[in-house]
Symmetry: D2
Subunit: 236 residues, 4 copies
């Protein structure tokens, strides 16, 4: 996992989505390794910390997990499993939360978001304006001490990721790609019965183009809970 934004040190290899990685070495005089402390802290009931800083080292704990994947790739299931396996309580917010918060009139209009009969999704200017404010607000929740899992569909590819990167700034973010074979996702879309058929296939690859991740999982052959455990292992 790598930290993001201008607050980062200049000391590192830096090919991650947030730019240069923060060094995570603990002080040699630390009574125990920072890693050990941070892992233990949740399990042993250390009170939930707004600062999210480990008192024994300068490691900043993961503050935001961003999951990106196409419709019916299994993100929501992974999010609920993550909330169950991570020792601290995390808020789960995402594109669906935002769309539900919009006026009904924006949900089928050129200005808002449109779901065509073939599964194509188009987003208009009023949607983008509200989305920009929404992203700022989610970042502010993380700065105010909530640990947040963001469940996203990067329809705009690298531009979408940049919007989040800019808002999340110095926050420590884990970027996760949720892959699912297009044909498998299309089958699950039929099985769910509550999505416009065609979204899964049309989004399966395009949402990952140009995105840089810390970690990728593939739900084609792995259960949500397995994926969640793999992600949780990268959360500090």
């Amino acid at each position: 996992m790598r930290t993001g934004g201008p607050a980062d040190g200049a000391d590192s290899s830096g090919d991650g989505p947030n730019g240069p990685a923060r060094g995570s070495s603990s002080s040699p005089t630390s009574p125990r390794s920072s890693r050990e402390w941070c892992v233990d802290s949740g399990a042993h009931g250390y009170p939930f910390r707004p600062s999210l800083k480990c008192p024994y080292c300068d490691l900043v704990l993961t503050q935001v997990i961003v999951l990106n994947g196409g419709s019916s790739s299994g993100k929501s299931g992974i999010v609920r499993c993550l909330q169950a396996v991570l020792p601290d309580p995390w808020l789960a917010l995402g594109t669906d939360t935002l769309v539900d918060a919009m006026p009904a009139s924006l949900r089928a209009s050129d200005a808002g978001i449109e779901f065509a009969a073939d599964g194509e999704v188009t987003v208009g200017p009023e949607f983008r304006t509200l989305e920009a404010a929404w992203i700022e607000g989610v970042a502010a929740m993380a700065r105010a001490g909530a640990r947040v899992i963001v469940d996203e569909v990067f329809l705009g590819g690298a531009d979408s990721q940049r919007r989040w990167q800019k808002a999340l700034g110095e926050l420590r973010v884990l970027w996760v790609g949720v892959r699912c074979d297009g044909a498998v996702a299309a089958g699950r879309e039929i099985a769910r019965g509550d999505r416009v058929v065609g979204m899964a296939a049309s989004q399966a690859d395009v949402v990952h183009r140009g995105i840089v991740y810390d970690l990728e999982v593939d739900t084609s052959h792995a259960e949500s809970l397995e994926c969640a455990r793999a992600i949780a292992a990268q959360v500090s």
Copy 2:
């Protein structure tokens, strides 16, 4: 409607929930009345403004509408009607959004939120911590240019309102009380069939104790759409 917080001028009568009211008189040299401009702006398609400031006067448009009322008082219906009748797009967020975003484990625990068989709702420390960050984030969305309707249940009475007032600060807020006769709300709770029976009756009065409003509506004998129109008339 009155504005809130320390940024307000000291010029006014100030018995509103946000403290002193901001003067809303337009400049005498203004080519048209500020009110006219602001009303027209939405209807005539003036682009959605992050600044929410009227170019002809110093009136700041309403940025947040907070609706407070007990369970089954009809808040959600009013919110959807408000989104339909207000000319600009408003985001609707509330207690239900927050509870849905929490881990399942916090939804029936001493640390989170508990819905007892008799309808009593108890909120624990971990819920409060996440809620505080959530409130900060919603305020940040409004500062970033989204107009936001907040659908709340002030279980903590005046303390609950103070938490929001503090976070919303200088933002221009319309505080709305949604009343509903306890017996009527209890009947609607049965008709909905998806709420713990007893919440409506136990919350009907208690959530309004000590709260100061700009406007109150009563759904006992008025339809959601009528209430929404009365509220919309107070939105600048």
Copy 3:
């Protein structure tokens, strides 16, 4: 309330929806009035009876309640209140149950059911075929001892009622019209936010044309629970 079908006696005025009304006078030698017995039976825990016949008289208890009304007229709320206030357990089934049971492909096709953007609902031949079998099955449930509340939208007017009358045959049915002023229903449709806007207005009157009821309620100015109590008072 009137009984239906060929089992009816020839003694009566017969302007009810089921044809001639059955006399409800109890035998003079009955140890107590049939009415008293039947009312007591539920309250005092007399075991749920598949035959639904009162042992002291020839009164057949109400076996089916059919509620007919337009979209957003408030039928579902009344149904849940009826289930709460009636002493015996009643099954609630209706058009929504049937539509949910259909394949997704029939939910937007000429052969199935179509919800146009303006709220018009069109029903095709394959929908009608499955519906006919569904109605037979619901009638069979009542014959097998379940007391059933049917929540219907008679888009076909008197023809729709005739389909149900034919299937329900000799069963004792209470026909209830659920009226709601078109403008009020249209406002509630906006407040619900989960229905195609326009259905409420277009169905408000048309679904009642040519229908004969035992009882009508109007939700424009009465709560669901009040309406349910008025209906329950007619259930024997």
Copy 4:
């Protein structure tokens, strides 16, 4: 697939869940094989037939598909896929439909159905009475010409199957077991987030004890759509 009940011929091996299997050989003078006809009939738009009998042979088409499996085994997903891949329209009904139709008071009571905190489900006498009538009604729908997929949880094991066998009588039924490894189902239960945790594990094996199937599918490693295709291949 085997037919059920007393109407069956005495000509066959009979180890299926419905007793003796009906011969499915077509007449040698048939202009084309019965199988070919029946498969074509749906695809080529032959009108939906209440009798469900092939005019060229004595083959009776499958009238009911009963899927039995534990909570979170993936039955509902398979049902929606079946509705999508089968050429005729099939109604989907099941335990969830029945539970939703019950009064709220029966959903947490000794007389109705109870979901304990550990996932145990207990069913009381009033639930059983309504369920018996429900089963009769579903069978009547199939007799009246609807093809029906039943989505069931045989909590009572072989007794549960016998109740359905008795009601379905002479109807041609395809009995399908939906297996899912208990640990996998438990993980999916967490991922769904809308079920009492523990149901999946406690039901995974017990619902299959003593049940005889025509076909079994296992969702542990196969997608819903694959399972649906395997089942559809057995539907005549």
